[in-house]
Point group: C2
Chain length 192, copies 2
């Protein structure tokens, strides 16, 4: 039995290695550089090994997306917990969210831009994704205002943040006034 357990442990370890290496490669050189060959070379195994863990490249992206969503949720919760007042928390959330996107562009893309084969906004949506949304909801529900559904408000607020994050990083928005845009968005959208 112990032998089998050891094998399973090693296998799980290698799976973590694959995900971590893919993520590292994506952050270092962009998702285009993440090819199955390069990835295989970096983990010092041959290509087909990847396919014994994941159905394909898409599933690797999906795994990184789940990992990233959990981290995003944690970052948001940490930031909001340290802030005071509903408006302060909403602002802290916005800052934390945009900061995460800027610091982990490849992971952010895995979650929100690329196709990782994950179901979103459905019943069978994986827990980390649901929880990331929940983390936003916990904070933003406070500032939705009367008569506005907290879920709907959170979706809208989130979409606005997502727009800022993606357009800024794609060079569609000049990077200099990010801070002012964030303040404007939070001040206008939230109701205290």
């Amino acid at each position: 039995m112990s032998v089998q357990e050891r094998k399973e442990r090693e296998r799980a370890e290698r799976e973590r290695l694959i995900v971590a290496t893919a993520r590292e490669l994506a952050e270092q050189q962009g998702w285009d550089a993440v090819t199955t060959r390069r990835l295989a070379e970096r983990i010092e195994y041959s290509q087909p090994v990847l396919y014994s863990h994941f159905r394909g490249k898409r599933e690797i992206i999906g795994a990184i997306a789940l990992e990233g969503a959990a981290e995003l949720a944690a970052a948001v919760r940490t930031a909001t917990a340290a802030a005071k007042g509903p408006h302060g928390r909403a602002y802290a959330l916005a800052r934390a969210y945009l900061d995460f996107a800027a610091r982990n562009p490849a992971v952010y893309d895995a979650i929100f831009q690329l196709d990782g084969g994950l179901p979103y906004a459905q019943e069978d949506t994986p827990e980390p994704l649901k929880d990331a949304f929940a983390a936003l909801l916990e904070c933003l529900g406070e500032v939705a205002g009367d008569g506005v559904d907290p879920g709907l408000f959170t979706e809208t607020f989130w979409a606005a943040l997502h727009g800022l994050a993606t357009l800024t990083r794609a060079g569609r928005l000049p990077p200099e006034h990010t801070e002012r845009r964030t303040r404007l968005l939070v001040d206008r959208l939230t109701v205290v």
Copy 2:
């Protein structure tokens, strides 16, 4: 002279054919289906002909982006011209923008998601892109509110719309309450 003119005309005509065909193919089957081979086959020329017009696939995307930006600007101007009052115009703009994104997903991606090799938010940004932003600015400058830079406000408003458009189409947001989200966004962001 006339011979040369005819040739130039035919060449320009073929270039339009390439762009139109690529766009059609992208809208019909998605950007993944737009390969140089398929595109060449559809225009009934060989692959290298594409490269006598464009540096590569990226430039074709760029051409579609410019074309699309002009259409988006026109759509926004038409919609706002027909609406009444600053708030009404801002709302009409939002509707027109999201409508354009929903009806022309491939073109929208060419403008805002894919890499068409175009410079954004710079001095040498192509005119159609600048003009599209100008179209937004014309309308949104009215509702920026006192003490808020119209340009900055427009960028923020636009980013929010972009977030709604992309998240909805990527299945990250449930499609049912788009209308309510749009209203919420416009009502909160604008100052009348």
